[in-house]
Each structure stands twice: as C-alpha cells, then as structure tokens.
C-alpha cells in the first residue's frame, strides 16, 4: 500500500517538476524514489496486513513478490531513458509521471481482491501505455502504434468489462473470495451459461493484455512502433502484472470452474507457443523478433497457469514468479542494448548488430547473456525459469504440453542465436564507430547480466518463494 501511495504522490509531484526540464534532477530522483518504494515493498514481506478499502486490495507475499519484480524492472530500465533528455524532449516530466502511474496500475492489478480494482488497475496501466506508445510524436510509426494499441486495447477492455458484468450477474459479487464460493456452489443453475461466457470474456480481455494468442496480433506492430524504452516497459511490467492478475483470477475466483477454463488456457498456451516462436523465427528485425519472443514467453507462462491447477501457492506460482523475474531482467537487458545500438546506428534489424562484439564488447556480452537466458540455456536465469515451469507441469501430468513447449524452445534457439551471429560472426560496417554508452547505463547492463547469471547458478534463494 505504501508503494501505491508513494508512487502516486511522486507521479503528481513530477508533473510539477516539469519546469526543471533537467535530467540531472528527474532521473536520479525517479530512481531514488523507486529504490525507496522497493524498500518499502520489501518491508511488507511476511507481514500480515488487513485488506485495504473494504477487501478491494490485499498486500500479501504474492503481491509483494510480483510488485518487487515490476519495481525492479522499472529501476533498471530508467537509465535507458537518458537519450530522450539529451534530445531536448520537452515533455520529459510527463513521461516519467505516466510511467509511475502505470506502475501504480500494475501494482493494483497484482494486489486486487475485487474485480473493480482489477479493472481500474488495468485501465490506469493501459491508458498510460497508450500515451507512452505515441510519445515519439514526430515519428509516424509511433503514432500508428499508439492508435493501434489504443483501439485494440479499448476493445479488449470493453470485453473484459462485459465479462466482469456477466460474472457479477451470475454470482452477485465482485469480491474474489466470495466469487470462489459462488462459482463452486451456484445459487441458480440457469445462470451457468452467463457465468461461462463471462469467464471466457475475461480470459480474452486479460489474454489481450499479456499478448497471448490468438489475441496477440497487435503485439509486433505496436512493439515495433513504440519507442524502444517504452517497448521494454510494455513487454516486462505489463506482462508480469498481467500474469499475476491472471493467476490470481483463475486460482482465487475460478478454481471451481477449472473444467471450463483449463482446456481454454491449454489451447491458448499451445497456440501462443506456436505462433510466437514461428513468428519470431521469420523476423529480420531484432525489435520485431523480441516482440514475437515476448508472445512466446507468454506461452511459457501460460503453462504455469495450467500447472497451477487453480492454486495460488506452491510450485507453479513460484515458477511463474521466477520465470517472470528472469524474463524481465533479460528483456530489459536486450531492449537496453538494442536501444543504445539502434539509436546510434539507426537500424533495428539484425544487421544493425553486426560486429558489435568488436566495437562494443560489453554491449555484445550483455546481449549474449540476455539471448541465452531468453533461449533457456543453462548458466542463465532463463534456464531455471523454464525448468521450474516445465517441471511443475510434468509433475501435474501435462506431458504433451511440455513436449510441445520443449520443441518450441528448440525453434527459439534458432532466432535467439541470430543476434549473436550478427554480433560476433559478422564484421561491422567499415565506418562503424563504437556505440556511446554512459557510466550508469553500462553499470546497469553489467548488473543485469550478473543478475541473470546469478539466477542461473544460484536459483535456490528465489525458487520456491510462494
């Protein structure tokens, strides 16, 4: 709760600080604040809190853990916003403020205990993101991305809201805990079709937000057009919060309807894995590849939902937590490097990375670690993320889905290797100069790479947390 208050207050303050127009104040200020919020959030670990706002918001270990991921991701992402500042971006303070508001939305999505809170959280997050997607105002691709994201997003939110309404109609409540009981023992059997349509609509709405197939079609275009800095935010924070909300919905409100949603989620999972991986393999732009790769990672996380079998604690929930963390760190690292390189070389295709191993060994190394982690190669956090998820699914007997996921991760190897091939095996352009990186950015990248390796060699301290 402290984190929501702090973030909201600072977001508003930030709007007033806009006149400073100085990154010297805004960036370190925002980072320090987020560190403070991270600390405040950590202080809530293993502390029992009364639910807030008449049971609309709960702060338990589940909330604290996932909030930790989104806060950490934002902290390590911020240093890459610097070029906006040096470019004399006039609305910098607004962007920082929107980013903080988006975080508030994400935390509400994680901690909700009431469907209205879920809706409000999703809306706060989404509206901020619509604006940020179009923040590069003079770039027509950014404008297109914002419009596309907004139209599709508004549509999906509408479906989600309709789903919530139908669920309410069938059960008479918005509160998650009461929903669980109401779904398990329906008062009026004739309302069952309404309940199922409601569930389906909610799955569609959230599936859109986490870009799960077949509701992923907007992802590549929006990710490509959005300025890389915000793309990184979209593919990490939005996804983590979305999955935390998704798991909570299925595990707290709808465990009794498992017979209905389980096949749906399984089908979505297989389809997401297939379309994400095959789509990524066909790309020639690193940014679009990362967009499709984020779709495929949604597929792996859906396996976690399947393996959870409607339980919020235990192996599957811990695996989703670990996977989200490893994925977020690696994705921020990948987008961070990509942003620095593509700003300098004006090229986000694979060719733009050519010879980076020679010109910028550090960037190339961090990108390598990130790609290996996303591909799930040992020595990186991504390996244990996949391992925990798939082991949880095998433990529940979903062998077929796991075999399919393993086959798809073999496809993944192919496209995650392509940046590495470009960086190390292809020569740079003759006139290529090193990409300029400032101290705080390289320090952040080193931290990200080390964190990924740490998760890959000593996963014990974060596995089995929930």
């Amino acid at each position: 709760m402290t984190s929501i208050i702090l973030l909201s207050v600072f977001g508003i303050l930030n709007l007033f600080l806009g006149f400073l127009r100085s990154n010297k104040v805004l960036l370190p200020g925002a980072m320090l604040l987020l560190l403070a919020v991270f600390g405040a959030n950590y202080a809530d670990w293993n502390v029992a809190h009364e639910p807030y706002f008449n049971h609309m918001l709960v702060v338990d270990n589940y909330t604290v853990a996932f909030t930790g991921i989104v806060l950490l991701t934002t902290i390590v992402l911020l240093p890459f916003s610097r070029s906006y500042v040096t470019a004399g971006e006039p609305n910098l303070a607004e962007y920082y403020a929107l980013l903080l508001f988006a975080l508030v939305g994400a935390i509400m999505m994680i901690g909700y205990d009431h469907l209205l809170m879920l809706f409000v959280g999703i809306e706060i997050l989404s509206i901020s993101m619509y604006v940020l997607a179009g923040s590069s105002k003079r770039d027509s691709r950014s404008n297109e991305a914002a419009l596309k994201y907004f139209l599709m997003g508004a549509f999906a939110t509408g479906i989600l809201l309709f789903g919530i309404a139908l669920l309410y109609g069938a059960t008479g409540t918005f509160a998650l805990s009461q929903l669980g009981a109401a779904v398990a023992a329906p008062a009026n059997a004739s309302l069952q079709p309404m309940l199922y349509i409601g569930i389906l609509m909610m799955i569609i709405g959230i599936g859109f937000k986490v870009s799960a197939a077949p509701f992923h079609f907007w992802t590549p275009d929006v990710y490509e057009g959005t300025p890389t800095f915000f793309t990184a935010f979209m593919s990490t924070v939005v996804k983590t919060a979305g999955f935390a909300a998704f798991l909570k919905l299925l595990a707290v409100a709808l465990p009794a309807a498992q017979g209905f949603w389980m096949p749906t989620i399984q089908a979505m999972c297989a389809l997401t894995l297939l379309l994400g991986n095959v789509g990524a393999a066909a790309q020639t732009s690193t940014k679009r590849m990362l967009a499709y790769s984020s779709v495929s990672h949604a597929g792996y996380l859906l396996i976690g939902l399947v393996a959870s079998k409607g339980i919020l604690k235990g192996e599957a929930a811990s695996a989703i937590f670990f996977y989200s963390l490893a994925y977020s760190i690696a994705t921020v690292a990948a987008f961070g490097v990509l942003k620095l390189v593509s700003d300098h070389r004006q090229d986000d295709s694979y060719n733009g990375l050519n010879g980076l191993g020679r010109t910028n060994p550090l960037l190339a190394f961090v990108m390598t670690v990130a790609m290996l982690s996303l591909a799930g190669i040992p020595l990186t956090g991504g390996f244990f993320g996949k391992f925990f998820l798939l082991a949880a699914a095998v433990g529940q007997g979903y062998i077929g889905l796991v075999v399919f996921a393993v086959i798809m991760s073999m496809v993944g190897l192919y496209y995650y290797l392509r940046p590495l091939i470009a960086m190390y095996l292809r020569p740079a352009e003759a006139d290529a100069t090193p990409v300029p990186v400032d101290g705080i950015q390289s320090a952040t990248l080193v931290v990200l790479a080390l964190l990924t390796i740490l998760l890959g060699v000593a996963p014990g301290f974060l596995s089995g947390l929930l």
């Binding site: 075999v403 393993v406 596995s463």
Partner: protein
C-alpha cells in the same frame, strides 16, 4: 575441496584473462592450465582406486527441488580429468602460434570450456551434469564460430542446434527420471536428482525403452554416432585448429563418458533392448566414415571422417557391455584424444606452412622436414593401431569386447584397422612422399615450440602403448561397478 579447486581454477583464470592482453594473457592462460594439470596429477596420486567416487563435494544447490551441487571422482572420471587437463595446455600452446584477432578472449573461452568439461566428468547430480554439459557447449560455439573458416556461420549454427536439441531430449529424460525418485534422506524436497537416486530406480522395461533414446540422443549427437553425425565433418573442418582439437580430443569423450555413467547403469533394460541396433549403427558408422575418408582430398576433412570411424568402434565397445570392451573404450578415449589432437596439429602445421590442406596440391614434403615426417608417422601409426602405440591397445581391447558380444560383428568392426591403414597411409604417401610439389623445397621443419606440443603427445602414445595397465587399473573398479549396475 580439491575437486572444487580443480573445477573453478580455469574459470577464475578465464575471468582474469578478460582483463589482460598480449604476452601476459598467454602466460596467464598457459600457467593456469599447467597448474591445473599439476593439480590433476596430484589428485591422481592421492586417489585410491575403488568403485565408489572419492573427493566428494556435496552442497545443496536448489534445496526446494532436491538438486545438489555434487562432484566426485572415480577412476573413470579421473582418467578423463587427466586427459582434459593434459590436452588443454597443449591446445593453448598450439593457439599461441596462430595470428588472430582478440587472442585473450580466445584463451578465456578455452579455459571456460575446460571448466565445463571437468564439470561434466565429475558431476554426480543429473541437473548439475546437464548444466555443465551445456556450459561446455557455449564457449566452443563461439570458438568455432567467431574464429572459424568462411562457411562458419551456417555450420556452427547447425552444430549448435544439433547438440542443443540432443541435450534438451536428455534433459526431458532426466526430468522424467527425477520425478520418479523419492526424497533423499534428510531432504525437504520430494525428489532427488542424485546419480545414486537414479541408479536405485526400478522402472519398467517399457519406460526404459523410450527413456533410452531420450538420454542417448544427447550422447549420440556428441560422439557422433551414425546417423547423428552430419554436423561433425563440417564443424571439424571449418573450426580453427585449436577448437577442432577441443571438439575431437575432449568433447567427443563427453558422449562416451555420458553413455557409460548416465545411460548404461540408469536404464539397463532399455540398453539391453536397444543394444543390437546401436551396435549396428556404430558399425555402419565405422564403415561409412572410413569409406568417405578414403575419398577425401582435404587433410582436415579426412581426419574428421577418420575420427567418425574410430568413435564408432568406441561406441560398439561400450555397448558390447563387456568388461574388456568398456576398458578398451576407456583406453581408447585417452589414445584417441592424444592421436586426434596430434593429427589435427600436424595438419594445421602443414597448412600454416603451405597455405593449403588440399591433398593433390601437396607432395614430397618429407625431404626438408625429417622431424615433421617422423612425428606425423608416429601419430598416424597410432591412429592405425600399430602395436606399441596407444591406439593398438585401445582398439585391440575394443575389438575383443565386440568379438565377445558377437564374432561376426567383431569381424566387421575389425575392418576399421584395415580401412584406416588404407586412407591414412594413402594420405601420408601423397602428402609427405609422392612427386614433388611447389612446396617441397621451401617448406620448413617443425620449430622447437611445435615440438614442445608434439613430444608430450608422442610420449603419451608410447606410454599408453607400452604400459596400458597404469591407466587400466585406475578405471577397473569403476567399470566393474558400471557393469554390475547395467546387469540389473
């Protein structure tokens, strides 16, 4: 403690290497690898030969999942550790001669790979084993890819995908086995991935039948066994010589070792079910590799196919499930490691002098190069398995093992000696003897530095050939232990 130092010393050196340049980097890399070899020799003297693993190091790695960081050495592991630590300094020395970009990164990757290899040979926990198995792959991918020949991009990609797909299948097999285990004593987790837990599983023959292929896929690709070999000749040819030496001299042994430690005793019923098909595939590999080797005109490619042919015999020996066949495989792993590194080194020495590996362009090199000729001949004859050399002991025991399994199969496998004499001696004749070529007068003999690499290799060839028992007695209890477990 000793095992931990042995494992992490190369890694520490590799990290330090990233900060150094030029002569310091060379001295550091070589120094670290020689100290490492010294440590391995010390370990060998401190080692008491028995069936069980000694120098155990066991920490809880992921407590919630019952996965341990468990290392240990038995005779089999020890011999492969010795081979690895013996070859790495020589491979590094051979790299010093070359002129390429960013050498300290190259040495760092070699040492990083050494950690992976040593981890594979000493892990006693399934996930740790898999972990190191992949850790060994990443550096060799970059070694072969970044410093390789013209077609390196496509070829290293193929190599990487082949091996990773193989090892993912192995991981799937391990996960299945892991979920069948019960909790280890004193552990909170429900399962255990300890090797001993895998050994005590009682699985049905039907389960073992498909588990066999899941696990064997990784080993078959790594060795490689026909028909999983298609990455091998290209990769060996395109990789820079030191990387080829690592691939053929040590990495190939991961497959044989894995089969002996993680396949035969883990799914014994599956092994006995698939024994015959695998031996037949191995024999096909022997003949196929040899026939293609006869037709090769590229020295490096010829040696690559020769290696394919020889590894087939090793696999057949292992799958004969006889004490003598497995012991033969152990000796042959050492002998083949030495031979193939020597052969690739000489091929590289000739290429560096003449600028070509194309056999028809070469000829009559021997007149100006007596020392090179002698070294080449010794390595070659050991590969052909002439008595007194290491290759002879290995192949003899292997053939004896295969013969015990089935006389006819043994007879066909025996063709390997005739075939290898044909293609290797023909190559020798056309490269070193034969009509003079444009290089006959200008080629220079081996330098002192190059002899520094070849002399230890030649010494070991004769040591294995004359006193094989100094190695065989180390691995005997370990091999007997594997066979007892495989006979369940």
């Amino acid at each position: 403690m000793l095992t931990a130092v042995l494992l992490f010393l190369p890694l520490a050196a590799a990290l330090l290497l990233l900060l150094t340049k030029g002569a310091t980097a060379r001295a550091l890399a070589l120094g670290a690898s020689i100290i490492e070899f010294g440590l391995a020799v010390y370990t060998a003297f401190a080692f008491k030969s028995s069936g069980a693993a000694s120098f155990n190091l066991n920490y809880s790695w992921i407590p919630s999942a019952g996965i341990n960081f468990h290392l240990g050495l038995d005779g089999l592991s020890l011999l492969l550790v010795l081979l690895t630590t013996f070859l790495v300094p020589l491979i590094l020395l051979s790299a010093f001669k070359r002129d390429f970009e960013n050498p300290s990164a190259f040495y760092a990757l070699v040492l990083f790979m050494q950690t992976g290899l040593l981890g594979v040979f000493t892990s006693l926990d399934a996930f740790l084993f898999y972990f190191f198995w992949e850790v060994a792959l990443i550096p060799i991918y970059f070694l072969a890819g970044a410093w390789g020949g013209e077609r390196r991009v496509a070829i290293t990609l193929k190599f990487f995908l082949y091996t990773v797909v193989g090892s993912l299948l192995m991981l799937a097999g391990f996960v299945y086995l892991y979920l069948q285990t019960g909790p280890a004593a004193g552990s909170l987790a429900q399962h255990s991935s300890e090797l001993s837990a895998f050994y005590s599983l009682k699985l049905s023959a039907a389960e073992q039948s498909w588990l066999f292929w899941l696990i064997f896929a990784a080993f078959a690709v790594k060795m490689p066994i026909f028909p999983f070999h298609t990455w091998q000749p290209d990769t060996y040819t395109e990789a820079p010589a030191p990387a080829t030496m690592l691939l053929s001299g040590i990495m190939l042994k991961m497959g044989i070792y894995g089969t002996m430690r993680w396949l035969l005793p883990v799914v014994p019923l599956g092994v006995s079910q698939w024994q015959k098909p695998v031996i037949i595939l191995s024999i096909i590999g022997i003949i196929y590799g040899a026939i293609i080797a006869i037709r090769q005109r590229d020295v490096k490619r010829l040696i690559a196919y020769s290696s394919l042919s020889h590894v087939g015999l090793m696999a057949a020996g292992v799958f004969s499930l006889t004490q003598i066949g497995l012991q033969g495989a152990v000796v042959q792993m050492l002998a083949h490691g030495v031979n193939v590194v020597g052969m690739f080194f000489i091929a590289d020495a000739i290429e560096r002098r003449t600028g070509t590996r194309y056999i028809p362009d070469l000829g009559g090199l021997t007149r100006r190069t007596p020392v090179l000729t002698v070294c080449f001949l010794v390595m070659l004859l050991s590969t052909v398995a002439l008595p007194l050399t290491g290759g002879f002991v290995g192949e003899f025991l292997l053939l004896a093992g295969v013969y015990q399994y089935n006389a006819w199969v043994g007879a066909v496998a025996g063709l390997t000696i005739i075939f290898s004499a044909v293609y290797l001696l023909r190559m020798f004749q056309r490269v070193m003897l034969g009509p003079d070529s444009s290089f006959s007068e200008t080629i220079t003999d081996l330098t002192g530095g190059e002899l520094l690499i070849l002399v230890p290799l030649i010494a070991l060839v004769f040591w294995i050939g004359l006193f094989p028992n100094s190695f065989l007695h180390l691995s005997e209890p370990a091999v007997a232990n594997i066979l007892t477990l495989a006979g369940r």
